[in-house]
């Protein structure tokens, strides 16, 4: 796997940096927002498809408000999600399917990104772009090489259940045996080379 560029594995080549639309003045001030949601924190102003919006948490819920009207912004529709994915996508496949994940994330996705649209492309890499249904951001990218890498990582750390725990007993056992094997190999090599030395003397 070290022969494969890690940035390629991460899917950085799947999308081009989107043309960032710059923020323009908004009609709903942050002070008004704080009057309505006094416990709001992590307030962030950004935009999706030209519409500026506030994103913050209040009473441990993520809230998305239109930054011009102060009204909740509807979650992304399938059409909008596809549009965002297609405009960032650099490959030459077409969208083959789109799924909305709201409760349970697929195993290749961190659940913190939910709710999210999975936009799949019909290309040789079986690319999938994940678009946040709340913010419209492309949160992550997956393709067949990433999935292969994930399997290789599982084999590397010998955690066949969760694929992320490097502190497992099976690995300890096998690494210890490997160490013994390597030490015996070193001894054999030493004997072989020192015998040869005796001949030349």
């Amino acid at each position: 796997m070290v022969l494969m560029d890690i940035d390629f594995i991460h899917g950085d080549t799947l999308t081009a940096t989107p043309n960032i639309v710059t923020l323009k003045p908004v009609s709903y001030p942050i002070t008004t927002l704080l009057q309505h949601y006094p416990d709001a924190n992590k307030i962030r102003l950004t935009q999706r498809q030209g519409q500026a919006f506030y994103q913050f948490s209040s009473q441990s819920q993520l809230i998305i408000l239109n930054a011009d009207t102060g009204l909740p912004l509807a979650p992304l529709t399938e059409q909008q999600a596809k549009h965002i994915a297609v405009s960032a996508y650099t490959g030459n496949g077409t969208v083959s399917s789109a799924h909305l994940f709201e409760q349970d994330a697929p195993s290749e996705l961190n659940p913190k990104w939910l709710p999210v649209w999975q936009i799949n492309f019909a290309d040789i890499k079986q690319s999938s772009l994940y678009v946040s249904a709340d913010t419209g951001e492309i949160v992550t990218k997956r393709h067949v090489y990433w999935r292969l890498f994930d399997v290789m990582w599982m084999l590397h750390i010998m955690d066949y259940d969760t694929r992320d725990n490097i502190h497992n007993n099976l690995l300890t056992l096998m690494a210890s045996l490997s160490l013994l094997t390597a030490l015996f190999g070193t001894m054999l090599l030493w004997f072989r080379l020192s015998h040869n030395k005796k001949v030349t003397r």
Binding site: L3, Q35, A175
Partner: protein, 356 residues
């Protein structure tokens, strides 16, 4: 086959050290619990999850920020630095700028400008203190020299605790960039060795030229090892138990000099085990049973086993036809073996040589 063995030997010499490093560092990273390595053992979890009642102090509006920013912005976030409201601005070039949300500056030309966050050493110390859960004394903040892994304007505060905690705080954002300590340094060091990442500071760079070279050589090393192992197993080596014990008779010019009873293994090992039990060296071998030196050759006086690749490589056709074989390459059988006068004369002689 002979080539495989040479290849395996030289590859072992070439990459053996790195293989050992991979195994040892991997084992340590596996066995040492992540809690022990934790750089944040004394880190207070950020208090930003609690809302701060700051609404009244905000005098700089989002629209002021958008209007006064030098570069176009893609993202604005409201944060608090030492209980004062501030904006974290992300410019379209990806760079971040931090400005106060309760103050605007006025230039000499009576123009309004955003007030950039720039904390004093004392304030930085205060932030470090708040992020530190231990009760050791914190040294004054020090500027970092020649450190390109931390953002510009980052200061270091060290704590006099058992792990030498280092707290990195940025002057222009008020954020705690990282906690580090000598245990997290140790982890970084193991990762550096494991990834062969000797240049970069973070120890996780992946696609190094030398990693790739050694990984490919390791693969060849493993394939050659498996090839050798399969061959040896196929020849009958390493199987621990042979059901029926066999008798090996050793002769020197028609005269029986030893009778050996054996259960498993190759001829050479059993002959020398017998010799060692009598304080003798036995048959000389320079390659240690690898079929390379040809010193352990014996003559099968009746029905020699079929010659293997090593026999053919080391012995002449005439000798093969007469029944000469390398005793290290043949599994025990009921056999009568002839030794040369030279081998017999060295049988004991060699012992003193070894003892020297």
């Amino acid at each position: 086959m002979i080539r495989w063995q040479q290849l395996h030997k030289w590859l072992g010499l070439l990459i053996g050290l790195q293989l050992l490093l991979w195994i040892v560092t991997g084992l340590l990273l596996n066995m040492i619990p992540s809690v022990w390595f934790s750089a944040s053992m004394h880190q207070q979890q950020s208090a930003s999850a609690q809302a701060t009642p700051i609404s009244l102090q905000i005098t700089v509006s989002i629209n002021d920020v958008v209007r006064l920013s030098h570069l176009p912005l893609s993202d604005i976030e409201l944060i608090t630095i030492l209980a004062r409201p501030a904006y974290q601005l992300t410019q379209v070039n990806g760079q971040q700028v931090f400005v106060w949300a309760d103050t605007l500056q006025t230039t000499t030309k009576h123009q309004q400008v955003l007030s950039r966050v720039s904390l004093t050493d004392l304030q930085i110390h205060q932030i470090a203190r708040a992020s530190y859960r231990g009760d050791a004394k914190l040294a004054p903040a020090k500027a970092l020299k020649h450190d390109n892994t931390m953002p510009v304007g980052t200061l270091m505060i060290t704590a006099n605790d058992e792990v030498d905690t280092r707290i990195y705080v940025n002057r222009h954002s008020g954020s705690v960039i990282a906690h580090q300590n000598n245990r997290s340094d140790y982890q970084q060091w193991l990762l550096m060795l494991h990834f062969m990442d000797y240049n970069s500071e973070n120890g996780v760079s992946f696609n190094h030229f030398w990693t790739q070279i050694i990984a490919v050589l390791s693969l060849i090393f493993i394939i050659s090892g498996i090839r050798l192992l399969v061959y040896q197993l196929h020849q009958g080596h390493f199987w621990p138990i042979k059901k029926r014990p066999v008798t090996i008779n050793l002769y020197e010019s028609q005269q029986l000099i030893a009778q050996i009873s054996a259960h498993s293994g190759c001829m050479l090992d059993n002959i020398n085990k017998h010799a060692n039990a009598q304080q003798a060296k036995g048959l000389i071998t320079e390659c240690g049973g690898g079929g390379q030196c040809g010193q352990c050759v014996v003559l099968y006086l009746s029905t020699p086993p079929s010659a293997c690749e090593y026999d053919i490589a080391k012995l002449s056709k005439r000798k093969l036809a007469l029944g000469y074989r390398l005793s290290c390459q043949h599994i025990i059988s009921n056999a009568d073996l002839g030794l040369s006068p030279q081998q017999v004369s060295q049988w004991y002689e060699n012992t003193s040589d070894v003892n020297q």
